[in-house]
């Protein structure tokens, strides 16, 4: 039974993270290259030479697609090795395998994000906009997400820490003594993750425009979506960690990999996946990238 669940969960993880969403991203890139070419929308390509800009975008797309598919193939090989009992199932190493493989699966997404970041920097550097405008009213977090949900995210984080530090049990994480190095590391690391979410949120709210040409409506929609994703991520971490502790308490160690894999897939579905679903290309005003 454990083996069947392991195989199903692992196959889903491979498909969702390394095939389904990467292919969606590839189709999105192809749609942009086809409908908004560098010759007509130079600002979208940071005013680079149209031929070079298109070639670079194509190259990036191919690297992203091939890397994702190669990782998917590696996942199938790992699964095959599991069956060949080289890597036994259900003996505690499933979690480590998952963690290592997930980090590998995230690599194309990280490269894609870095490439977008670089592109936006180029766009800001090549900014030729002499007429600049701004809204004469302050932006606040409550314009984008409900303050109740933000408070709830904080409460959940504190609840998890209390649960972790004061509830004792059999789970791996449960054996940490109050303020020993393990407890400090886990609490510090998760708190740091929450601080990182807050920093990213503040940067999107008050920082420089990520895309200098984006229309106000699109900027508002994008910022709102990013803040919602960050909020879901904050909830996700606290709920995942609390559930992991609970599973340890209940002695369900053999299903920890299911929990971890489900969380990792959740992170992709509600992270980049949500971005694809909610930030649709047809809703974006691409005329801002045209000549003139």
């Amino acid at each position: 039974m454990t083996t069947i669940i392991f195989v199903m969960v692992f196959l889903t993880q491979i498909y969702v993270i390394s095939v389904y969403y990467p292919m969606k991203f590839v189709r999105r890139i192809e749609h942009v290259l086809l409908n908004y070419p560098a010759s007509e929308y130079p600002k979208l390509y940071a005013n680079q030479d149209p031929v070079i800009a298109s070639a670079n975008a194509q190259k990036g797309k191919v690297i992203f697609r091939n890397l994702s598919l190669a990782i998917a193939l590696l996942g199938l090989i790992i699964l095959g090795l599991n069956f060949a009992t080289v890597l036994p199932i259900g003996e505690g190493n499933d979690v480590e395998q998952h963690a290592f493989f997930y980090l590998l699966q995230m690599l194309p997404y990280i490269l894609l994000e870095l490439s977008e970041f670089k592109q936006m920097s180029r766009m800001r550097a090549s900014l030729e906009k002499t007429n600049r405008s701004a809204e004469l009213q302050p932006r606040t977090l409550s314009n984008y997400v409900s303050p109740v949900l933000v408070i709830l995210a904080g409460v959940l984080h504190v609840t998890w820490i209390v649960f972790f530090l004061f509830v004792k049990g059999d789970g791996d994480l449960m054996n940490a003594d109050l303020w020993d190095s393990k407890a400090v590391f886990v609490v510090g690391f998760t708190t740091l993750a929450q601080v990182l979410f807050i920093t990213i949120a503040m940067w999107h709210l008050f920082g420089r425009k990520f895309d200098p040409y984006l229309s106000d409506e699109d900027r508002f929609a994008r910022t709102k979506l990013i803040l919602q994703i960050l909020l879901i991520a904050s909830f996700g971490i606290s709920i995942f960690l609390s559930t992991s502790l609970l599973m340890g308490q209940l002695g369900w160690h053999q299903y920890r990999f299911v929990m971890i894999s489900a969380y990792l897939q959740f992170a992709i579905i509600f992270g980049p996946g949500m971005m694809l679903r909610r930030h649709k290309l047809e809703d974006i005003d691409f005329s801002v990238y045209r000549v003139g």
């Binding site: 600049r132 405008s133 809204e135 004469l136 302050p138 008050f206 425009k209």
Partner: protein, 131 residues
Amino acid sequence: MRISINVDEDIPLFQQLVEQVKQAVMSGGVRPGDALPSIRQLANDLDINNKTVAKAYRMLERDNVIETKGYRGTFVHPEAKSNAVVDLTGWVQSELTQLVKKLKDAGITDSEIRIAFGDVMNDRAIIGATK
């Protein structure tokens, strides 16, 4: 209410900002008591230096068009509408024009006026007079 600036214009950016905020007040785009964006937010949105926005806000605060309430932020002054029409820069121009004309009529040369003006601005005339 939107404001816009042109980075290629000869008018300094802080002055454009002051004028834009005053126009927004006079047209009713922003009302007394309304909150204004922070210096950082406005500077980032317009892609200009924080110091430029800070300078514009200082001048608007001096003219009682806006007021800063500590950590709560910057707000439109209760008397902003009447204060926004007072053009202190224009008043300085007109006062100085009259004074310069008077000095020239008295036979003072341009360079003498410039040196005296520089001394007054740098407090040198006061130091010299007290010696």
